[in-house]
Symmetry: C2
Subunit: 243 residues, 2 copies
């Protein structure tokens, strides 16, 4: 992990860009922190440049609550190489959604599973590097991003103690078995009127999680309209489980 | 409305029992309140004697947050007369649930609709009387109880500005049209693993509500296991909409 820039933002937030191998990322910490901070890994749907204002908002909230926060670019997004297969799957999924009928699981699997296979080890390598920094302690929470990536991380990465999942993307049926392996506390956000998502699939996935403590918060406002109070409820979930 | 007792409880809560016609009820206010307080009407499943400890806990939270709180006994519960038809419907429903198959809407309607028809005007009369007291102002929220009662109140009673619904009892299909007429902000609690409830029906009902602002919070813990943090989220919902 090589830091490539460092800025002090309003509110006493230190923002450092880094490169880990070929993966760009950002780490946010508090300028006043005196002890190793618990960590929030902030997922996003890919395209960190475009997503930066919203991810920064979440990072500011995390730092204000006593956490460090970090994100990385997603495989195939931003300046990272895109596979032709992923591009084709994305086109096929968009067409299937626009056609209005049920979306074939084969298309979803073709788009999502390779992404999960690549993204999960990258998050784990990022976690390895972050936990070596003296300013980062544990425990670690994962929040947001492509839900299938978060599900596998929650299932297999023992250093992740709690997760906030955003049920806002199609999930291949193959992920349901992994969902049953998830045992950590979960806080699942669902936009009830998200037209680009399959609500029944999201509810089935929530049902499948093996966690004894799982909460579903469904709100109105469309895919990008998660209300501010829902973000605050997520903060309180992490405060309950990571502090 | 005639007050029949007055006590000062720990925490500066004034508890007054009252009778309105033949309906017993309880009003909780703050001993230190200097202005008319917004009001929470606290529903419960019937049997105020048995339910008292839990309703009192909710009332204490409400008073601590600056609200007055009130409840009344439900028709057919406590010392109030029970109709033979309601008793038979309750037996039929219990048998249908124990049989494990889908529950016939006719049984649910036979149990719930007469209760709604009787309970809703009683809550409205209670509201009339409470709002004449100098210590009670507006706005008014309704929370909990038999969800069909709350749905009709939310649909037809313009003085109710926001409602917390507990999706923990069977809802006759006839209530779904009334649900579409509900336009106020809703905060719906669902116990995901409530074995005596029909989860699909609860999700369909949530979908049917006409409110632009509606939130579903689903948790684990069975019918009576609503987590403490879920109660606190309900308090914050009322704080957002009633203050």
């Amino acid at each position: 992990m090589h830091f490539t820039s460092e800025k002090i933002l309003d509110g006493g937030v230190v923002e450092r860009e880094f490169i880990l191998g070929e993966i760009p990322g950002i780490l946010w910490t508090s300028v006043t922190a005196t002890e190793p901070a618990p960590l929030q890994l902030l997922g996003h749907p890919g395209g960190l440049g475009r997503m930066y204002p919203r991810v920064l908002g979440r990072a500011r909230n995390a730092v204000a609550e006593g956490f460090a926060a970090a994100t990385i670019e997603q495989p195939g997004s931003g300046d990272r190489p895109v596979s032709a297969a992923a591009e084709q799957a994305r086109i096929d999924l968009r067409q299937a959604i626009q056609a209005g009928g049920p979306v074939d699981d084969e298309i979803v699997a073709r788009l999502i599973l390779p992404l999960v296979d690549q993204a999960v080890p990258e998050w784990q390598a990022t976690l390895d590097a972050l936990l070596e920094l003296p300013e980062i302690g544990g425990p670690v929470g994962f929040a947001g991003g492509v839900i299938s990536v978060a599900v596998r991380l929650a299932a297999i990465e023992p250093r992740i103690a709690a997760a906030i999942l955003f049920a806002g993307s199609y999930v291949p049926r193959a992920m349901f078995e992994e969902a049953e392996q998830v045992k950590i506390p979960l806080h699942v956000l669902l936009q009830w009127d998200d037209e680009g998502n399959d609500r029944e699939l999201a509810l089935d996935l929530f049902d499948a999680f093996g966690s004894e403590q799982k909460t579903l918060h469904a709100n109105m406002g469309g895919h990008t309209g998660v209300p501010q109070f829902a973000g605050e409820e997520g903060n309180r979930f992490f405060a309950r489980h990571l502090k």
